[in-house]
Structures are given as C-alpha cells and as structure tokens.
C-alpha cells in the first residue's frame, strides 16, 4: 500500500482545483488510512510558463483559478516586480488592496452561503435552500447582493469579475477614475451593514464540537491585516521572509493525488492556511469594528474549530468592505498607471493571501525577461495534508454511520477548508473499503 509519508520534494505545481475523491481504508473496522484524492487532470502551468515573458504571468496564472484569479495575479506581479526592482506607488498599492478586498468578498460569500451553509442547514445547495423557505430565500438574496458588491469592486478596478484584465507588472494598464470607484460607495456601505446581520445569522447555526491545536500559517504585515505582503508567521513561532519559503516548506508528491502536498521541512508536519490562520494570527490588526463584531459573535481568537471558519470568513468580508470604503473614500488617481521598467535576469518570490490561504510564487527570469522556471504553491496543496489529518481524526466516528451520512460528514470536513477545487462544493466520492 502506498504511504503518505513518502518524502519527495517537488519544485513544481500540480493542479488542485477540480475534482477530488477520498478513500478511507479500514482493517478489521480500524482506520488504516485516509486519502484525499485530487484527480483534476494536470494542466502543467509550471511547465508551459517556461520561456514565456514575465509580463505574461498575471494573465496566464490567473487562469489557474476562476474563483481567485486576483490572488494569482497579485502573487505573480509582486514576484516579477521584485526581480525588476519596481517600487509601486501608494495609489497602485491601495488599488491592489482594494481589488483583493473585492475578491475576498465574492469568494468568501460564495463559500459561506453557496458551499458551506447548506451543510449546516441540510440542503443539497443554496438554490434548494432558497426554494425551501421564504426566510432562507431572503438570506440567499442578501448574500447574492453582498457578493455582487464584491464583484463590482473587481469589475471596477480589474475590468471584469473572472480573470481581470487591468493588472500588469509595474502597476495597472489604467487607473480607475475617481467617479468609477465612488459610484460603488452606496452599495458597499449597505453591504457592510448587511454583513453584520449575516454574522448574527451565523450564530444560529449548530457547529460540530471539533477542535484541533492546528499549526496556523499566514502572512503578517506591520501595519494592516495581511493581503498583498508581509512576513510568513506561524502559531508555533515561525517568522520568516517570503524568500525563505522554500527553505521551510516542501511540496511532496503522493501516489494517490494529482496535487502536491506541502509540509514543514523541519518535522514533516502538516499546517493550516486560510481565514482561520489569518484571523488567529492577525486579529489585532483588524479594525475596531471587526474586532467588536468578532467579540459579539464569539469569534475572538483562538478559534480552533474549522467549522467556525464560516463566521471567520464573514468577519473577513466585513473587514474587506470596511477597507474598501476607506480606500475608495481616500482615492485620488495620482501618479502613473505603470512604473516604467526593463527586463532583467533574477529570481523573485512573493506570497499573498488568497481567499483560501497563502499563495506562493517564485520565478526566475533571463536577461530578456523570459521565464526560466516557475514555482507556484497554492493554498489547497498546503492544506491538503491537514485536511487528511482532520479526516483521519473523524474517520472512526464515521464507521457507525450510513454511507450517505458518513459521506456528508466527511465532505463537510473538507469544505471547511474551502479548497480551491472550485467544484469542491460537493465533490466528494467516498469509498469505504472494508477488508
């Protein structure tokens, strides 16, 4: 039987969004092994990026994920800008943070209400929820309106919701006009209040009693809640520059998955990235409004129950709306849209906080700016080992359940992580092998 303890270091990415499956292996009704299989066909980004112009990285890597393209664009441009020694202007920096706020909102709201909430309420999906009861229809409507407000930010700054077109190495193609952004404010302020109500709603759900002393890993920035930069820190005292990521984390290939799994090099341990990690490590950097809301709904750190990530996502949505309003109110399109730059040879690293966690890119260019190598470590490959550990922990409790109940419960564990298997929604095919 294949072992997940194989230590193979892989310097390249395999696709993770897509379809997965899980196998629980039992021997005499004792759990022997748990495998989360990701069988999305590989698309070989890191292979075909070789030889491409570094300027193409934001457009090409966006296509890795239709749900968090901004995250891929942000990690890509920051890494290339490090090589080209580009210092972006404060205006560009604020616009990138604003764009990221929009993506956090649309992605988190999609997950909280369309992917996650049906698990707690016992429906196949949000459309079925909306049909079942008028009050749930209202809830879904509010969620859609809030999601749309997030998408309106991505559209205004990036040009379109999926695979934005305005992001480039050195800044943007065009700075949005003052009126293009200010027009968003009424809906953003409405949404900020609405999210406070959605947070209250989240306290009406029943969360399974499940806590783990996770090793949380996230960025930390001296001035703000992390999105576009910072140092990589962990709940066990790690504190490193992003460039040191490959020294501390390794991606390994396991036989059962087309995705690579990341672990800490020091002890081979799994770790946890995403909203729960960000919140636990960075809550003191959140605005007062968000910290007060957290206290009111019982989400003051430490939060170690992964099911409660639903509420934490909503806290981050509240934070993103608050930031977006602040950034837009202060916005003046100043300075050039793009910082002029010349290609040069070098190595660049960047990590940003995708909605579902740390996203690391590393590129090496030649003196014409063509890529020699590309390494992309997405959040889901980092969480995969932790998801398997969670599954192993609950596996024994699944045994007495029916196939359907056991499948649902195991799926819910996986969905807690909002894996960037976009159809992670309800993707799990569980096979119980009894020998």
């Amino acid at each position: 039987m294949a072992s997940t303890q194989r230590t193979i270091q892989v310097q390249a990415l395999a696709r993770v969004e897509g379809e997965g499956a899980m196998t629980i292996r039992l021997k005499d009704d004792v759990v022997e092994d748990v495998e989360l299989r990701i069988y999305e066909p590989p698309r070989f980004y890191e292979a075909f990026l070789r030889g491409r112009d570094a300027a193409e990285t934001p457009d090409i890597t966006a296509r890795i994920c239709g749900i968090c393209p901004v995250a891929y664009q942000m990690s890509a441009v920051h890494a290339i800008e490090q090589i080209y020694e580009i210092q972006i202007t404060p205006t560009q920096r604020h616009l990138r943070r604003l764009l990221y706020c929009g993506e956090w909102i649309e992605s988190h709201v999609l997950h909280a209400f369309f992917l996650h909430a049906p698990d707690f309420l016992g429906y196949p999906g949000a459309l079925e929820m909306a049909r079942a009861k008028p009050e749930l229809a209202e809830l879904v409507k509010t969620a859609l309106r809030v999601k749309k407000a997030g998408n309106s930010i991505v559209r205004a700054v990036g040009g379109r919701e999926v695979h934005p077109i305005n992001v480039r190495v050195g800044g943007f193609y065009r700075l949005p006009r003052h009126d293009e952004l200010h027009a968003l404010l009424p809906e953003l302020t409405w949404s900020r209040s609405a999210v406070r109500g959605l947070l209250d709603w989240s306290t009406t759900l029943t969360y399974p009693d499940f806590e783990v002393d996770y090793q949380f890993v996230a960025l930390q920035h001296p001035d703000e809640y992390p999105m576009n930069g910072g140092r990589i820190v962990s709940s066990r005292g790690l504190n490193i520059d992003v460039c040191a990521f490959p020294d501390h984390f390794a991606e390994m290939q396991v036989p059962h998955s087309n995705a690579l799994q990341a672990r800490l090099k020091s002890d081979g341990s799994s770790y946890f990235v995403g909203p729960l990690a960000r919140w636990n490590l960075n809550h003191t950097y959140a605005p007062e409004l968000v910290r007060q809301a957290a206290a009111a709904v019982g989400l003051t750190p430490p939060v170690r129950n992964p099911y409660r990530s639903l509420g934490v996502r909503l806290l981050e949505v509240l934070l993103a709306f608050d930031e977006a309003v602040r950034l837009i109110e202060a916005y003046e399109p100043q300075g050039p849209p793009t910082i002029p730059h010349q290609p040069r040879a070098g190595v660049g690293h960047a990590a940003t906080e995708a909605p579902r966690g740390l996203l690391y890119h590393r590129y090496e260019t030649d003196n014409q700016g063509l890529l020699r190598t590309a390494v992309i470590v997405p959040p889901t490959s980092q969480n995969q080992a932790q998801i398997e550990a969670d599954l192993r922990q609950v596996a024994a409790s699944l045994l007495p359940l029916s196939e359907e109940e056991a499948t649902l419960k195991a799926e819910a564990i996986i969905r807690n992580y909002d894996p960037c298997i976009s159809c992670a929604t309800h993707f799990l095919k569980m096979k119980v092998e009894r020998r």
Binding site: P41, A47, A126, F172, Y173, S422
Partner: protein, 259 residues
C-alpha cells in the same frame, strides 16, 4: 416539468461555470424557471437522467474524460460548450506541440502516478456540439442570453465579428493607431465588449479567432511597428492556442522555433 439544466466540467479553472453564479441578479429567477439538476459547484444533486440543456466547461485532457464527454452528450438535448477550454482546448493545449512526458517530468517527481492525454482538445473534437460560447472567461450577459433564448425555444445567436466593431461602437480610441499598442482586436471574436481597449490595453485574444480573421495581415502590421515575431507567437499562444486560425497565423511568422 421545468427544463432540466446540467452544468459539467472537464479540464478548466471553473471560471466559466462561476459566471453563472456571478449572475447575482438573474440566478434566483433562472432557478425558478429551470431545474438546476446537476451543477457540482452549486449543489450535491447526483448525476441522473437527461438534460434539456447542458453547459459544458473544460477541455478533454485525461483518459477517463474521453468516455465522460460521450455520456454527457447522450444525456443532453442541447449541448453548449462554454469557454475557451471547451471550444479550443484552453491554455492547457500549450502541451499539444510539446512532449507531454517532458511536461510531466517538469511538474511531477513521479510522473508514473499521473494519468493524462498527450493533447488537450475541444469538445467538438469528440462529440457534436450544438452551440459554442467563446471567451476566457465567457461573458455572463451572453450566457444569460443563451439560456433565455433556449428557454424561449429560439436558437441562441452571438455575433461572430471582430472585437474592433465592439470597440468602435463603445467609442474607444484605437490603441494600435493612437498609441502603437499591439492589439488582437482585428482578428479576435467579439463578446467581451472591447474591454481591454477601454483600459488602455491591447486585446489579447480571450475569445479566440473571429469569423474569417486575417491574422497574416495583422502580423505584417505588428511587424512594421517593431513588434517581434517571437512576441507575436506568444500573443497568439494563450487560451485559444489550438484554435486553427491562430495556429496557422503563428506558422506564418518568421521564427526559428515555436515559443
């Protein structure tokens, strides 16, 4: 009985099916008129029965997908390919000219664990496709129009002219004429609303080739403005790399080895 809608995925980023969930204003109204009977991104409903309309995202790039696409075809009365992966093979078709084993070895330490096909191909290479929605990603207004047309019993229509016409209609200044910015607008299929020129950027071909594009003529113009042949090859080698008109346009370019 309301019509049954199915949403299916092959090799892709999920962005095109997400476009349906991004129709925030239309989604609940749509769900009241059709039965969203299969849509893994949105519901746990199992795959059963037949579909009046199938929206299919993604390219065929793994062995098991060869059978799955035929199964989807057999279940579906009207099959719509959505997005560049489904209509042209997507960016993952960049492997088509290369040795896929080299790609496997670059990405995976143990390539023998991985099952993949040597090529990434559009749905139409395997089954009959009733309608194609272009784009990387598709345009959600075109998606809604398509579904509404089908509900009304009309064949959907989308313009197949070049982005240039949309650009003129939107009143944008031509980025190529005014600023010398390389732009694929003259040869690219309409549908995005000439988004990029509105952001002072040249079109980069998300929607693939327009009807009867003259890629060679555009190449001559780009070369005359000093845009290197290698860079032109790259510009034509993205999400619609395997679309025939872009492929033949590349072959005509004077470069030693394909990028």
């Amino acid at each position: 009985m309301p019509p049954r809608l199915g949403v299916f995925k092959f090799a892709s980023c999920d962005g095109c099916q997400l476009s349906l969930l991004d129709c925030e204003d239309e989604l609940l109204g749509l769900a009241a008129q059709v039965e969203v009977a299969y849509f893994l991104e949105a519901t746990r409903q199992p795959l059963v029965g037949e579909f009046d309309v199938a929206l299919v995202e993604g390219s065929i790039s793994a062995p098991e997908q060869l059978e799955q696409i035929h199964d989807v075809r057999q279940r579906s009365r009207f099959l719509v390919a959505i997005g560049a992966c489904a209509t042209a093979g997507g960016i993952q078709a960049l492997r088509n000219g290369a040795d896929v084993n080299d790609f496997l070895r670059l990405v995976y330490a143990r390539p023998e664990y991985i099952q993949t096909l040597a090529t990434s191909t559009p749905l139409a290479a395997h089954v009959q496709v009733d309608f194609e929605l272009r784009g990387c990603p598709i345009d959600k207004r075109q998606l809604v129009d398509t579904i509404v047309s089908l509900l009304a019993g009309r064949r959907p229509r989308t313009p197949n002219h070049a982005v240039c016409l949309e650009c003129k209609r939107a009143g944008h200044v031509c980025v190529m004429v005014a600023h010398g910015t390389p732009c694929l607008g003259p040869v690219t299929h309409a549908g995005c609303g000439a988004l990029c020129p509105g952001y002072d950027r040249g079109c980069y071909g998300c929607f693939g080739p327009a009807a009867s594009p003259n890629v060679t003529s555009l190449s001559q113009r780009l070369s005359a403005t000093g845009f290197a042949a290698e860079a032109q090859v790259r510009l034509l080698s993205t999400f619609n790399v395997a679309a025939p008109a872009f492929a033949s346009g590349r072959v005509a370019l004077p470069v030693a080895t394909p990028a």
